[in-house]
């Protein structure tokens, strides 16, 4: 089975290489690029821990082949910080205590980022609907919603 040449801009940096077509985007990000902020939770398209932004849209990177992302741009949690300064969403999760174990947090932040790009002033219901593809087993979501509201107020 052959490999495929790929070229993907990840967090602003062009990444090229040869990959097996079956390589999942999440494995490329974590193992080939060493960006381990993107987590693998359920590995079955349910939990959202692996959420990244692909050409502006939140996707579950455990359910995308790396070859499909070739020619596109990927944003991961590592790309959210600018010059060492936390993104308002990252600050919001800190300020509002939006995490306990932290495993779901990168996915929560990425999906919320996509939500705020589309709707900068979401209602609580819209936030809850927007993060409905992401599971948190610690917080009960209340402080996650507050963290997103914190960020919406700052942006």
């Amino acid at each position: 089975m052959g490999t495929q040449s790929i070229s993907i801009k990840v967090n602003g940096v062009e990444q090229t290489g040869e990959v097996e077509p079956r390589l999942l985007l999440v494995h490329f990000i974590r193992e080939d690029l060493g960006l381990t902020g993107t987590h693998i939770g359920c590995d079955t398209t349910h939990c959202g821990a692996c959420t990244v932004i692909l050409d502006g849209q939140a996707v579950k990177s455990c359910t995308v082949f790396t070859v499909q992302a070739s020619g596109k741009e990927v944003l991961t949690i590592e790309g959210m910080t600018t010059n060492g300064e936390l993104h308002p969403l990252q600050a919001g999760f800190m300020e509002e205590h939006g995490l306990q174990c932290g495993f779901c947090t990168p996915g929560m932040i990425m999906v919320s980022h996509a939500l705020l790009q589309e709707n900068s002033n979401p209602t609580e219901e819209e936030i809850r609907f927007g993060i409905s593809g992401n599971l948190c087993r610690c917080t009960g979501y209340v402080n996650i919603v507050k963290a997103v509201q914190y960020a919406a107020n700052k942006i």
């Binding site: 849209q57 939140a58 499909q68 593809g133």
Partner: protein
């Protein structure tokens, strides 16, 4: 989980895609949104030797009305259907459906064509398309052919689509005035398949009598189920609470649920009855100009 190995093909035209499928035979699968296929490949429930990625094909991503039909390109993403003003204002039943498919991330990639071509009776669009009396256009080596929705689903994960054909378009007759439809899904949690779901469409005449009805059921049979007796019981009659209750009972009888972790057969039949009544009430309200 790691899928099995495969060769990846990314054609740039429909002709090229169909030629590839013809030469690769049964060992190829079409990759559209991938939100059903990739999980199946990770579980090794599907191990195609070749994937033909159709995401590079131009002109299969549209929602428009022309010549008495709403036509939807097969590569239209669920998120686009969910956002579309045309769908929201004129086809709320399709908005109801796209809105509850899986979750936001999945809807960004998942396509309406894939949702139908996958042939899973647990998917949501099939029942809605049954209720709407849709047809699908498929493209193969000899050009296009159109298949009525009642002839499209053959069994679990089996459709009338041949191995060398690609579903390209969904065609829905523009409903006459005083029509309405609704899709109501009952699920354990966001992202799960329906315990059961019901799609209902009705058309009323000037006196409030029902002149046309469509009822499709999700995940209660080997294919989406058309509740024919329930439809027939409504046609020619006003949509009174009693008549809607009768249709609910007939739809429940038409359903063929199997008991599983989502509930017993008896429970699912009860769910179908209730959802059919709710969907018909909502469809009626919309036909009368309400929400």
């Amino acid at each position: 989980m790691i899928p099995g190995t495969f060769e990846y093909h990314k054609p740039s035209t429909l002709d090229e895609a169909v030629a590839l499928l013809a030469s690769l035979g049964d060992d190829a699968k079409v990759l559209s949104g991938g939100q059903s296929l990739i999980p199946m490949m990770k579980f090794r429930l599907a191990e195609p030797a070749n994937l033909v990625d159709i995401n590079g094909l131009e002109g299969l991503d549209y929602i428009r009305e022309a010549d008495g039909y709403l036509t939807i390109g097969a590569l239209t993403r669920e998120a686009e259907l969910d956002r579309s003003d045309l769908i929201k204002s004129k086809y709320p039943i399709i908005h109801d459906t796209a809105h509850v498919i899986a979750d936001p991330q999945v809807r960004n990639l998942a396509t309406i064509g894939g949702n139908l071509a996958h042939g899973d009776p647990a998917n949501d669009h099939p029942a809605t398309m049954v209720a709407l009396g849709a047809e699908v256009v498929v493209f193969g080596p000899n050009g296009s052919r159109t298949i009525g929705i009642d002839d499209f689903f053959l069994g679990p994960l089996a459709t009338a689509l041949k191995a060398n054909e690609i579903l390209t378009e969904i065609r829905i007759p523009v409903p006459p005035a005083n029509s309405g439809g609704a899709y109501i899904k009952f699920e354990r949690k966001v992202g799960d398949f329906a315990i059961a779901a019901v799609a209902a469409t009705v058309t009323l005449d000037g006196s409030g009598k029902c002149v046309k009805a469509g009822i499709g059921l999700t995940n209660v049979g080997p294919t989406p189920v058309r509740a024919k007796a329930a439809e027939e019981a409504l046609i020619g009659n006003p949509l009174t609470d009693d008549n809607i209750a009768t249709a609910g009972r007939l739809a429940s009888e038409a359903s063929q649920p199997v008991g599983d972790q989502r509930g017993s057969e008896e429970y699912k039949r009860a769910v179908v009855e209730v959802l059919t009544k709710r969907a018909l009430h909502k469809a009626k309200a919309r036909a009368e100009g309400g929400k």
